[in-house]
């Protein structure tokens, strides 16, 4: 995002992978936190939310990228929001048609994808400057990163809070579930714990890089 602000990016594997790890929207950029915390009380909800957001992200950013020469600078944010809202309405009705149970579990958070800052952020920072191909690949990467993060939270919270995974019982009757994990505070705790883990990994890697700096560098 910051590396090539005004140039067209050539599509490489990195275009996709960057969103998954280096620019992970949740763990690194801290964008779109509300659904991350709210719907991750079970793994299946997390997966559905991740896929729905990915679809909206890719579809709306493709449209933004196609129309980037026609959208006037002054009203671009409003235009992006309306494009996003259109796709969210589609997803909303689609999920309602596919599984009413899932729709009720996710509640208002499907419609609230509209105000997910991750999607608007990508439209502004990436899609409005890049060609269609690069936008789609990058969008898929960011979406995958978002889904990955949601699953990280959803799996931990479901295992600890309900003793199951994707609805399958893991531990039998002996297990005493940590109810707090499915309740709101659990969301904050688990996300905080993941961030701690990633911070720790990052500082360790940086320390390693610093150590090897004196050695002859071959990459």
């Amino acid at each position: 995002m910051a590396s090539l602000p005004n140039q067209q990016e050539t599509i490489t594997l990195d275009t996709f992978l960057r969103g998954l790890w280096q620019e992970n929207p949740v763990f690194v950029m801290l964008l779109g936190m509300c659904p991350v915390l709210a719907v991750t009380n079970s793994a299946i909800n997390a997966l559905a939310m991740g896929l729905a957001s990915t679809f909206v992200l890719v579809a709306s950013n493709s449209l933004v990228s196609l129309m980037r020469h026609f959208i006037p600078k002054q009203v671009r944010i409003a235009t992006y929001i309306i494009i996003i809202a259109t796709f969210v309405t589609m997803v909303d009705y689609a999920i309602q048609a596919i599984s009413l149970e899932l729709y009720n579990a996710l509640g208002a958070f499907i419609q609230l994808i509209v105000v997910n800052c991750m999607i608007l952020g990508r439209a502004e920072a990436y899609a409005s400057k890049q060609r269609l191909g690069a936008t789609i690949i990058n969008g898929l990467g960011i979406g995958a990163g978002f889904t990955f993060a949601l699953l990280c939270l959803g799996i931990v919270r479901e295992i600890l809070g309900a003793g199951s995974l994707f609805g399958f019982d893991l531990f039998g009757d002996q297990f005493q579930p940590w109810v707090v994990m499915i309740l709101p505070p659990g969301g904050f705790f688990v996300l905080g714990a993941w961030l701690l883990l990633f911070n720790w990994l990052r500082t360790r890697r940086e320390a390693k890089l610093l150590e090897t700096e004196g050695a002859p560098h071959d990459g």
């Binding site: 509300c34 809202a85 208002a108 509209v114 105000v115 997910n116 969301g187 996300l191 961030l195 701690l196």
Partner: protein
């Protein structure tokens, strides 16, 4: 009916089901603007105002959409109204309090993408509140948001003096704090439990 009374709706939105700590709406500004107490307060006030305006507008729009049978346009209309309300607040604030305007910075236009505000509009529609109930609900939600923001800012200002390990600095620590705060607010759950 107790559950329909205006006071109950207000308290429920402000404390029992606090928008930030129990329903996870408006997390971005909650983490972003909660570093100082006075910016937190002004952010809270701006949010209360935008919430009230957009709640009133959403009520009117919903009535029109129902009349014309085009409910599927609801989301697009709501977001357009919220964006204009935010623009209004921004212009007013720029004129009357430039210092505050600068202090809030990027987070003022970002109120548009504050899910708490769209959340208020959507919830009041799905719960079929009447006009007075909608007002109480949006005011309660705004007050709840401000309370959460202020509490968080107070905690974080105290924490600046504490020594914490390097790894846990920044967002991780803030989230842990929010978790504790949320746990505290769970204590109020009994207040509203019997009414759902």
């Amino acid at each position: 009916m107790m559950a329909d009374s205006v006071t109950f709706i207000f308290l429920n939105a402000a404390i029992v089901n606090n928008f930030v700590l129990a329903m996870f709406l408006g997390i971005c500004p909650f983490l972003g603007v909660s570093a100082k107490r006075d910016t937190a307060l002004s952010m809270g006030l701006a949010v209360i105002f935008v919430m009230l305006v957009s709640s009133i507008c959403a009520y009117g729009i919903n009535w029109i959409l129902k009349y014309l049978h085009i409910e599927y346009l609801r989301l697009i209309c709501y977001i357009a109204v919220i964006a204009s309300a935010v623009q209004l607040v921004e212009m007013t604030m720029k004129k009357f309090s430039p210092t505050l305007f600068r202090a809030l910075g990027i987070f003022l236009p970002l109120i548009t993408t504050n899910c708490a505000i769209l959340g208020v509009a959507l919830f009041q529609t799905s719960r079929e509140y009447n006009f007075v109930q909608s007002l109480a609900f949006s005011l309660g939600a705004g007050v709840g948001f401000t309370i959460a923001l202020l509490l968080m800012a107070g905690l974080r200002q105290q924490l600046e003096l504490a020594k914490v390990p390097n790894v846990s600095q920044g967002a991780a620590l803030t989230l842990m704090l929010a978790g504790l705060l949320s746990l505290t607010f769970m204590g109020f759950a009994g207040l509203g439990a019997q009414h759902g």
